[in-house]
Amino acid sequence: MPEDTIHRPNMDVNPLPTAQLTGDATAEDIDSIRRRTSVFVYEWPVRLWHWGNALCIVVLCITGWFIASPLPTMTFAEATYQFVMGYIRFAHFAAGQLMTVGFFARIYVAITGNHHAKQLFYVPFWNKHWWAEIMFEIRWYLFMEKEPKKYVGHNPLAQVAMFFFITLGTVFMLATGWALYAEGAGQGSLPDLVMGWLIALVGNTQVLHSLHHIGMWFIVIFVIIHIYVAIREDIMSRQSMVSTMISGHRTFKDDRPD
């Protein structure tokens, strides 16, 4: 141990025994925790994707709403020179295309980036200890536990939410969205070659519109919970939440081993 540490060397203690299993702490993280109270978790591409994706979702929800339920009719020019619905649709399609590129970039980052960048794309379904920790997290949110555990990456419950709402939710929205876009792009276009099969599978694209709508609400519900929990845990848990997605560093409020 270096002499200049503010932490007392205590090599007999094994910090974060649970987090090593499912809290996404690597051996290096544990070593880091012995020396300082913060762990570098999210590299810049992950943080950039997070905020860019969030912006896309906001734009997509608002413009998507106004595509299905358009603004009141306005006439400030001849129809030829007026493009209100056109611009709304443009913003929707542009945000959707950025989100698509972002999602594939995020998969690339999961492959090439650090260990924590992978957590979004799997659920450790067969890990018994992970299930026990989910139960602990549920009890924590039901006010049945006095104190939460410390996690370096996502806690198990958050990981489930991320996986189902964001990973699967995004795949669903991109698939249905591109299939709907293929309608306008026309048969034989690239979007049609990639996603046109979904139109034939569903049969009537009115159904596809409804599914795309439900998908939007699925993600809106996630956003409500996600923002609430991030702020709540920032205040009430033993670690940083919001600033971690800005700086990339997870800081801990205490130095107890577990």
Partner: protein
Amino acid sequence: MSQIETFYDVMRRQGITRRSFMKYCSLTAAALGLSPSFVPKIAHAMETKPRTPVIWVHGLECTCCSESFIRAAHPLAKDVVLSMISLDYDDTLMAAAGHAAEAALEETIEKYKGNYILAVEGNPPLNEDGMFCITGGKPFVEKLRYAAKDAKAIISWGACASYGCVQAAKPNPTQATPVHKVITDKPIIKVPGCPPIAEVMTGVITYMLTFDRLPELDRQGRPAMFYSQRIHDKCYRRPHFDAGQFVETWDDEHARKGYCLYKMGCKGPTTYNACSTIRWNEGVSFPIQSGHGCIGCSEDGFWDQGSFYDRVTDLTQFGIEANADKVGLTAAGVVGAGVAAHAAISALKAAQKKTQDKEEA
């Protein structure tokens, strides 16, 4: 068996001039999107090829397909087609009835084994062994299977034969089933619509006669030349859609100005058909031009997509009055309220803990 007449023979027999015949050929070429060089080919095919025998059977249907068909914009087409069908079999249009009609069916199948086209209007109900549709004393499904066995190809006329239409709408008590789910071993062309456009119907038949093959079909088995684009893509009111100018209520100022009917539930953006280009009744008009939105009659299960007057359609799974936005908004509201309550309890708990800590200290 007498020599089978060609189309041209039939036309001339009916007093149609060669000039009118050539006009018909050029219009058909234009309707099929073919270059002028195909006009002589079509004329040649109609002059020389024996007419393709067609057997036209009717299951659960309303006969609107036949009604549309006999109104094909060109009287010539009507004559051709009527003559053709009356020679073979169509229990609605043929002069014969009863046993004589059924004998004609058997004779036609026997005579043209493997060479005739089976046109199906309507669909067979499968529930109760097909007892919900009896023609000629037998369940229609049996007649369909019998006639399909030796057919060269099958045309599914209209939404009924293609997708099921109103009789297959939920809960579909008779288990009305589209043709392609009953006959699975024959090439099937779906020509959906309730009814399909007359010129689309004659166009499909003319194409098959001219080129002796099926037209190019899209993923859903519809002729791509008529069903590859949406009503919306070719709608003459599209500039008002892009401008954001909509009819807000029936008969308002915007309706009089001919603005887009999107907010009145127009299904043009989700309906694949040729109404906005070919139009109806000799190109006079089509629903949107007459001021009413498209109801999506050529789409799969259009009866089950809620009201004809909503863009965000009802989800029958969630009750009659619920659509995706209502369900989503309710769910988001419940979650939002849950979050607020959770935050309140969290704050109370934290305050309680602080007090306890202070007392202990």
